[in-house]
């Protein structure tokens, strides 16, 4: 993927530039664009079609969020029918659809972000400003597989000794408790051993810096500047009220000289990820066809 070579700060800013307007603006144009961009990106990058369970779960979430709003919100001019004496209005249903699109598109973008920015990249970002927190997070991320492995070894040892082997529920629970107890003792002592080793290597001495494999290069600076420019333009259009949208009493979309520009810029932003990915794929297929 092309994202391996982009500095994580640029990726994080890109993620924020896409999700913040989609999360906090009422204008459905943002949500539709964000949703379409995410879906297109996923189609291009995911090797297999999504699992039926994921699709089902997302549809249930979508429908639930759509339904919630008209049930509690009776504003709006176009009354469709009455439920328990309260009007269910077309506008409130549209607002529910907007909420659902917002929730889903942000969810999808979070998935994309999780893939583009691995935990190492996130820690590299944090490392400069919160070095101790980053160290805590990265060492616990390392400890998780290590401790699970240790727990398995301990369980095997217990079994080999002929303990907790009957498979009954009480026996298994007692065995699990024993393993957990040993795991806590072992890992706490392991922690002090690791910290002694850290001290021997000079952790915490004055003048030590954190190492990061990600270099902020000239290309990253250009990308960052472009992103910031587009962000400023979009936020400017939003602040001027030309991207405002209201659902009640009737759907109204504000229009101004810069509305189209705002929409085009946001679409550009949202589809950049899918576009880069698509371009890479075409290139890849092209080069492969030449072999």
């Amino acid at each position: 993927m092309a994202y391996e070579r982009i500095h994580p700060a640029v990726l994080a800013l890109y993620f924020l530039s896409v999700t913040v307007p989609a999360m906090f603006s009422l204008n459905p144009v943002f949500h539709i664009a964000a949703f379409a961009g995410a879906v297109l990106f996923m189609i291009l990058t995911e090797p297999e079609p999504p699992k039926a369970r994921t699709v089902l779960w997302m549809s249930v979430l979508f429908i639930a969020v759509v339904i919630i709003n008209p049930l509690f919100n009776h504003r709006g001019q176009t009354e469709l029918f009455f439920l328990n004496g309260h009007a269910i209005t077309l506008e409130s249903i549209f607002y529910g659809v907007r909420n659902a699109l917002c929730v889903l598109s942000v969810l999808l973008w979070c998935r994309i972000f999780n893939r583009m920015v691995s935990s190492e990249k996130l820690l590299a970002l944090l490392g400069k400003h919160l070095p101790k927190t980053a160290l805590l997070i990265s060492s616990s991320l390392r400890l998780i597989p290590l401790l699970r492995h240790r727990a398995e070894e301990m369980r095997d040892t217990q079994k080999e000794l002929g303990l907790y082997g009957t498979g009954e529920v009480t026996d298994r629970l007692a065995g699990g408790a024993k393993v957990f107890s040993m795991l806590v003792t072992w890992s706490l002592d392991h922690a002090t051993a690791v910290s002694a080793s850290m001290k021997a290597r000079g952790y915490g001495l004055k003048g030590r810096t954190t190492y990061s494999i990600y270099r902020f290069g000239r290309r990253d600076a250009i990308r960052m500047a472009l992103l910031l420019g587009i962000d400023a333009a979009i936020l400017g259009v939003m602040a001027s009220g030309q991207m405002a949208f209201s659902f009640y009493p009737v759907l109204t979309m504000e229009r101004g000289a810069f509305t189209t520009a705002g929409i085009v810029l946001y679409c550009l932003l949202v589809f950049t990820a899918a576009f880069t990915e698509g371009k890479n794929r075409i290139q890849w297929n092209y080069y492969r066809s030449k072999i």
């Binding site: 999700t19 999360m23 906090f24 603006s25 009422l26 969020v65 919630i68 709003n69 049930l71 509690f72 919100n73 909420n99 659902a100 929730v103 942000v106 969810l107 979070c110 998935r111 972000f113 999780n114 935990s119 919160l130 070095p131 101790k132 927190t133 160290l135 805590l136 997070i137 060492s139 616990s140 991320l141 400890l143 998780i144 401790l147 699970r148 727990a151 408790a177 107890s181 795991l183 806590v184 003792t185 890992s187 706490l188 002592d189 392991h190 922690a191 002090t192 690791v194 910290s195 850290m198 001290k199 952790y203 915490g204 936020l235 939003m238 602040a239 405002a244 209201s246």
Partner: protein
Amino acid sequence: MKKAVTIILLCVLIPAVVIGGAILFRDRFYTWLAVLVAILSCVPFLYAFERRDTTSKELMVLAVMIALSVIGRIVFAGIPGFKPVTAITIIVALSFGGEAGFLVGSLSAAVSNFYFGHGPWTPFQMFAWGIIGLLAGLLRKPLQKSRILLCVFGALAGIAYSLTMDVWTVLWSEGTFVLKGYLAAIAAAFPQTVVYAVSNVVFLLLLAGPVGKKLERIKKKEGLFQ
């Protein structure tokens, strides 16, 4: 220099972000505010932790406790809501104090979401679990004395955690804080709330004694968190 940057950040940037958000996102201002509050309330604790002299031993012991609570969440992932994170956070806070409790609670949320998926809910979970740890640390004297009080605290922490996450659910899906919607969210999440409270009590009863003892031992042996 670093201090000046921090002060400028706190005094200028935060109000600017809040006011800017108020202008930009007039209609969904409360969602914006809630996300910001959740993120910003974690920042002072993390900065205080960064500035303090923490020995590498303390760091590694905290990392181990975070790893253990994340493993617990992964092992019990099959039962929704049933997770030992809150209990382990409280136990750490009882032995090592409120700051350690905050760190273990909030970073358990951050780390476990690498497995369960990060999203806009991450800061809320960090905030909720962190505050539970902090409170447990502040109340450590009475909580250490009485097992019953500890269980009550665990149950209340489960309920409080659920109520905090319900605020988030409503704000995220509705955009504004509608009381009716909030009550509906609470009602919908009621079984989950019960599971939270019960699992906290169960894990506290099971773990507080043995794990607490081990933590006290390592604390005395290595002279941690004095």
